[in-house]
């Protein structure tokens, strides 16, 4: 992982004496895995990814099959529960567990797509702003300020109103809303790195603008970006679920967790399991990713590192 080409770790090379140097990624990995929460988060996320990939093998039922004889069947462990519907069924007699298992695909895909879009566009915009400086920088950063001036969920809602509701449009809108954070971070890091000696020496050696931006400077700004990407991953899942809940994201009968909650709202008094289960799935996923994010932040931020 190029992320570990952290300049702060390179100081070990200047000390010829002492223990043999450890590869930076290995040191970071050791540090990361010493954090119990981060390891727990990584394990849960790994299980979630496996669930998403092997959903057709794991899910006991089809997501759309409606069992007319088992409408709103409670979970298996309760008095009226049925063994074949472990977490119960919804108002249309669909197996909740199977829908949750397939829902993992949507949530992870949402996180992945949104973060990729926001990360790439944010890095490019931030690189250009930080590298060019002057009016280009001023213009770009004012545009970012404008996006950040709106509450993110509200702006995403309005964008979806323009381009139409739907899962993909919701992802686009959330990416637009999250992108300025990456642009700001990249710009700040680039401005800090730009005047360092190694950049000057690369410039003197004849590196072009693109090479300076992408090959020389960018790898040294990745630490905070990775942390932000992790946080954005969980934010994207939460926002997409919120949009789905408000009817502006994935549309029924998609087994997206937020959309499932929207459908479940009217059974709040009669069937608690329909309301509880999708939320537990969202919470566990987001919590796991945030645990990883906290671990990564402690690992990649040299200020926080225990010496």
């Amino acid at each position: 992982m190029s992320a570990t080409d952290d300049p702060h770790i390179g100081t070990a090379e200047q000390e010829p004496l002492g223990p043999p140097p450890v590869a930076p990624w290995r040191e970071n990995w050791r540090y990361f895995t010493s954090n119990r929460g981060a390891v727990l988060g990584l394990t849960v996320l790994g299980l979630m990814v496996l669930t998403a990939i092997f959903a057709p093998l794991i899910a006991p039922h089809e997501t759309a099959t409606q069992y007319r004889d088992a409408l709103l069947a409670p979970p298996a462990w309760t008095a009226n529960g049925r063994a074949e519907f472990l977490l119960g069924t919804d108002a249309l007699g669909r197996d909740i567990l199977s829908r949750l298992i397939y829902g993992a695909r949507y949530s992870l895909a949402i996180g992945l797509v949104v973060v990729t879009l926001a990360l790439i566009s944010g890095i490019l915009v931030g690189l250009v702003a930080g590298y060019c400086g002057g009016w280009v920088d001023a213009l770009i950063m004012r545009v970012m300020d404008i996006i950040l001036a709106f509450p993110s969920l509200l702006l995403a809602l309005v964008l979806v109103a323009i381009i139409g509701p739907g899962l993909f449009n919701a992802m686009l809108a959330i990416a637009v809303v999250l992108q300025p954070h990456f642009a700001r971070l990249t710009r700040g890091a680039v401005m800090a790195e730009k005047s360092r000696e190694y950049v000057t020496s690369a410039k003197v050696a004849g590196a072009g603008h693109l090479r300076l931006m992408l090959v020389t400077i960018l790898p040294n700004c990745l630490g905070p970006l990775i942390v932000q990407a992790t946080l954005s991953f969980s934010n994207a899942i939460l926002d997409a679920a919120a949009l789905g809940f408000l009817g502006m994201g994935a549309q029924p009968p998609t087994p997206e967790w937020g959309t499932m909650l929207a459908e479940a709202r009217e059974f709040i008094t009669s069937a608690w399991w329909v309301v509880t289960m999708p939320g537990v799935a969202i919470l566990i996923t987001v919590l796991a990713i945030n645990l990883i994010g906290d671990g990564l932040r402690d690992t990649l931020d040299p200020k926080l590192k225990r010496s």
Partner: protein, 335 residues
């Protein structure tokens, strides 16, 4: 100090112009032209269409339309609601107190509990109190609040019957609308039970809206406290023999709170986003629910005006926090 404030004011002008541009472009970017959108399913004849386009100025060049739009804004014209025929500004003002009341209660709850939890965790670093509070904070931070709201309703409203499910006040309570704030109006009315009814209705929405800011503030306070507690002047204070409590509350907290103030300011934007979800779930008649209802009703002038007003409000709060920050932290002011 005056120069610092003026400087900040000048800096927000481009952002303000940008916000009006976004609001202006919003209606123009919608698929279909504005008149067809307003006519909706009924459709409109070509002559009437042209007439309406001219009436609303949509046949003018774009820059002229924008100039007219900003001109209108400066005179307090934020457009008209398509469904109620009332000015958007009037509608906003009638709903804003509900949102403000909820948001203020939430931010107060989040700040008081969050700062206390953060200090406690920092002072007991590594102990079980630290782990418990920070674990809880991480769960709060990861919470889908719309689901959290539903859970609280299931537990406290439908199962235990302690709190009402929706609205701001019991339907049995009637009293004049003086300030628009239920807590104040109900007290002014002097009616028995009115104030308690308002409080009862506020409890669950406040908890839901405060959850994420509370978690963020607790985490931020803890890390700011830890940073400050490692400073040399704290060591000096301790080695002079001052009581640990005095060191924490007097020497450390004052400096640790500086970054926390910024965090609290940033939560206002989060609160407005959260208000959309909270108000929708609790049928709270505020600005957030109004926006959602208007989007689904395709009342786009309301969405446009609401978007602008909310963004401007968030901007004003952030500016205030910025200035406050300059007041409490001279290093920022003189840079």
């Amino acid at each position: 100090m005056l120069r610092f404030i003026l400087n900040r004011l000048v800096l927000i002008i481009p952002t303000f112009v940008g916000i009006t541009l976004v609001a202006f472009l919003f209606i123009r970017l919608l698929p279909g032209d504005p008149v067809i959108l307003m006519a909706g399913e009924r459709g409109v004849s070509p002559e009437r269409h042209a007439e309406l386009m001219a009436q609303f100025g949509f046949d003018q060049p774009l820059w002229k339309q924008y100039a007219d739009y900003v001109g209108g804004l400066l005179q307090g014209d934020f457009g008209y609601s398509f469904s109620t025929k009332k000015p958007v500004l009037t509608e906003f003002m009638s709903r804003f107190p509900a949102t403000l009341e909820l948001a203020v209660c939430a931010i107060v709850l989040a700040t008081v509990l969050g700062v206390a939890a953060g200090i406690l965790a920092a002072v007991r670093r590594g102990g079980w109190i630290d782990q418990l509070t920070m674990g809880t904070a991480l769960i709060g931070y990861s919470m889908p609040i719309f689901w959290w709201a539903l859970l609280l309703i299931i537990l406290f409203s439908t199962t235990l019957g302690w709190t009402p499910v929706s609205g701001r006040i019991s339907l049995m309570q009637f009293f004049p609308d003086v300030t628009g704030f239920m807590l104040i109006d109900s007290l002014l009315s002097g009616k028995p039970g009115a104030f308690w009814s308002a409080v009862h209705h506020l409890i669950l929405p406040t908890i839901v809206l405060a959850t994420i800011p509370l978690a963020v503030i607790a985490r931020q306070t803890r890390s700011a406290m830890l940073e400050v507690l490692g400073e040399i002047y704290i060591m000096t204070a301790k080695s002079k023999g001052l009581a640990p409590r005095r060191v924490v509350w007097l020497h450390a907290l004052r400096n640790a709170l500086i970054p926390v103030v910024t965090t609290i300011g940033l939560q206002v934007s989060v609160l407005m986003g959260g208000a959309i979800l909270t108000e929708t779930i609790f049928s709270w008649p505020g600005v957030g629910k109004w926006m959602i209802d208007s989007i689904s009703r395709r009342d786009y002038q309301v969405v446009q005006g609401g978007l602008l007003l909310i963004a401007v409000m968030v901007m004003i709060v952030n500016l205030t926090v910025d200035i406050l920050y300059g007041l409490i932290n001279p290093r920022v002011r003189h840079r």
